[in-house]
Amino acid sequence: MRLAAPVKPSPVKTEQIILFRVSGQLFAVSSASVQEVRSADSMSGSEIEISAPGLRKVRHVVRRGDRSLFIVNGAMHFGLHATEGALLFVLRKTRTALLIDGIDKMSTMTRLQALPLSFCHEERQWYRGLTALDQTVIPVVKPEGFLSLEELALLDAALLQADNTAAAAHEETDSAQ
């Protein structure tokens, strides 16, 4: 009699995550979503100040070739106590560079639970879900949730205005010379 071949258990799907802190609060982000980690100081020479009405969480923009990366203050985005922010996560496939306090550690997530349906406000845009790690529940952020399409439109308009102002000032300087 032939025995049925033992069924191999399917490997548990895991995801590498980065645990980071914003204003003391712990969050997680998929490491695959983070294109670069930069010191906030390293951007200080290349950033342009920007001001979009009603959008206090973005104060600066960085030009990268033909792309503009908006620096989102993580603390202000989540409504936490504002902090300076020491590190920037440049988030892949977005126009967001997220200003955070620091990285806690790298880890592996084996299960992502959908955000319970009781959470029914903006947090549904902020988080992919929740994960339990070492008996602690950590929200896993959604990289595209930091800036909505409406916010990006506002920022683009503010950026255009800043460019026009800079160009006008430049012309004035040229004509004066």
Binding site: Q25, F27, F78, G79, L80, Q113, P116, L117, S118, F119, C120, H121, E122, E123, W126, L130, A132, Q135, T136, V137, I138, P139
Partner: protein, 159 residues
């Protein structure tokens, strides 16, 4: 007791919030658990305290005391884990309660139009008239968001 009278009796769990007692249909109750650590993270949904971990599940903690008794609970002795319907989906929610809960059989009087939306009916028990809670309207969910769509949200995140 006649058979017809027996059929009208339903099971309810009586819970205590401060000095007041409320009832929830026993069909909606999963368990009563001792307080455990509440994990908090930024969000903007009112009445949500955070989440607890229970049997590997992440369960939101819905504090309904302010709405029902006018103040937040200072002492929590248990969490009542109940089932909340969200359309076709069902999820667990944890409701902080101050006292031990009691299972009773009683006949429910249906709510009338003038009752608050969270009142699913009324019970008479031990000389008290007790509200039967409709958890689907009492606790936050997407349907309430749609109803509040015109209301501007708070600028600060909770908690």
């Amino acid at each position: 007791m006649t058979v017809s009278a027996e059929l009208e009796l339903q099971s309810f769990v009586l819970l205590r919030l401060g000095e007041r007692r409320f009832a929830v249909s026993a069909n909606q109750i999963a368990e009563l658990v001792a307080p455990s650590r509440v994990f908090r993270f930024p969000h903007r949904t009112p009445k949500l305290d955070g989440v607890i971990l229970r049997r590997g599940r992440i369960v939101p903690v819905c504090d309904v005391s302010e709405m029902l008794v006018g103040k937040r609970l200072t002492s929590r002795r248990f969490y009542l884990i109940a089932v909340r319907n969200y359309g076709t989906q069902r999820e667990w929610i944890a409701i902080p309660v101050t006292g031990e809960c009691e299972l009773i059989n009683a006949e429910m009087t249906a709510a009338v139009e003038s009752d608050a939306p969270h009142v699913g009916g009324w019970l008479s028990h031990d000389g008290d008239v007790i509200e039967v809670l409709n958890l689907d309207t009492l606790t936050p969910g997407p349907e309430q968001l749609r109803a509040q769509a015109a209301t501007p949200h708070a600028a600060e995140a909770l908690p």
